[in-house]
Amino acid sequence: MTEAILFSLFSFSAVVFAFNVIFRKNPVHCALHLVGVLLSLSGMFVLLNAQFIAAIQILIYAGAIMVLFLFVVMLLNVRGEVPLLTPGAAKGFGFFFALIAFVEVLWVVVTHGGAEGTPQPPAPLPPGFGSPAEIGRILYTTWLFPFEVTSILLLIAVIGAVVLAKRKFA
């Protein structure tokens, strides 16, 4: 019962914030609404027994990535563009295509993946599900190789960002 209330609250706020992200003129407002989406999703992660992921979402996504976004928005000082949406028929095509994608995903969800998926009852959760200890255990044993590759990827991203954003002293 509490889960239903919290789920409705978080999902409603996430969708409202998401609509505001794409339909606002001021980029700073869009960024703030995206932070709202991230916080709502963090709440939903807690409902889904993913405590570590919820905390990481706040710490990294809302606390670091969006701050970077805000910095760039303020640095570039981009005013809202006029007109707001892409002009002409491309706008209609965009909405239509998105609607088609939504209907497709909805169909997959409702029919449980077509012939292959069979509706299964939720599996029982092992103790410590979603806790940092479990994540650490799996991350450093089963998923060790992707973890190391991700660290190299992040190093590349750091170097790339520094090189790209440096002013060339001609």
Partner: protein
Amino acid sequence: MDAAFLIESAVKVLIVLGFVLLGVPLIVWMERKVIGHMQDRIGPQRVGPFGLLQTIADGIKLFFKEDIIPAQADRVVFILAPALSVITAFVALTVVPFGDTITVAGRTVYLHITDVNVAILWVLGTTSMGVYGIVLGGWASNSKYPLLGGLRSSAQMISYELAQGISLVSVILMTGTLSLASIVRQQEHMWFIVPQFFAFVIYILCGIAETNRAPFDLPEAETELVAGFHTEFSSMKFALYFLAEYANMMVVSAIAISVFFGGWRGPFLPPVVWFLIKLSLFLFFYVWLRATFPRLRYDQLMAFGWKVLLPASLLNLTVTAVVVALQNNP
């Protein structure tokens, strides 16, 4: 999720809220008195006994000031920014254990609002969210000095967040848990300050930089940037920023106490009293630093954070990891 649990949580939240709202005027009074005496003068002494009501008088004065919003400012964000600062400061206190357990009406009540198994990540996350209050305050003012102050302050805060987190990870390696209540419980025989002294030093330096306190308070220095990001804020919004700064000081001190100094542990007195004693000592240390050291220049500050504290915390982490690994697999 029964009614008793809800009532218990609500009472705990109200108590912590009241504690912070009453504690901040006391901290401000202590700061003014202590800095006064360190500067060979008396400090507030006329309003109430020993000047204790001075902060209340200042609060009432701030409340009655005119609330000005600049014409070109972004209204919604302008009003939101101080609220964000205050909210993140208060929310970080929900996982701090103020004491052990007490028995009320037959129920065992733990003296923390909640004990999540990711408590340290929660605290780090909410202090990261505290950056928004500052950067948005600077932006929404639509004015040069606040913008510069806000950007500098937030750049400083995100630079020192890394070293702060990594120094806490060194302790987590030793405890094996992220929950603050468990960390305090594990310090029965030895406080973690003893094996992790360097982590504590790094953490407290980062904490001072995070809360924009002297000697790291260039972004809100009056002589350099008017008043930094809170230039254009008046009346209650300024009071909220003020409140948020001191509440953040309390958060940093509370985490340092819980992680390094045994939390509420101590010989004879009840646990809550020990916690308050340690908290007061930490806050006195904050004020002492402010009275003693000159301000760091901004480039010195950033160089210190990136080039000194971050490698030091990583080195500490490596050494701790090696020692813990050798202990587990000799």
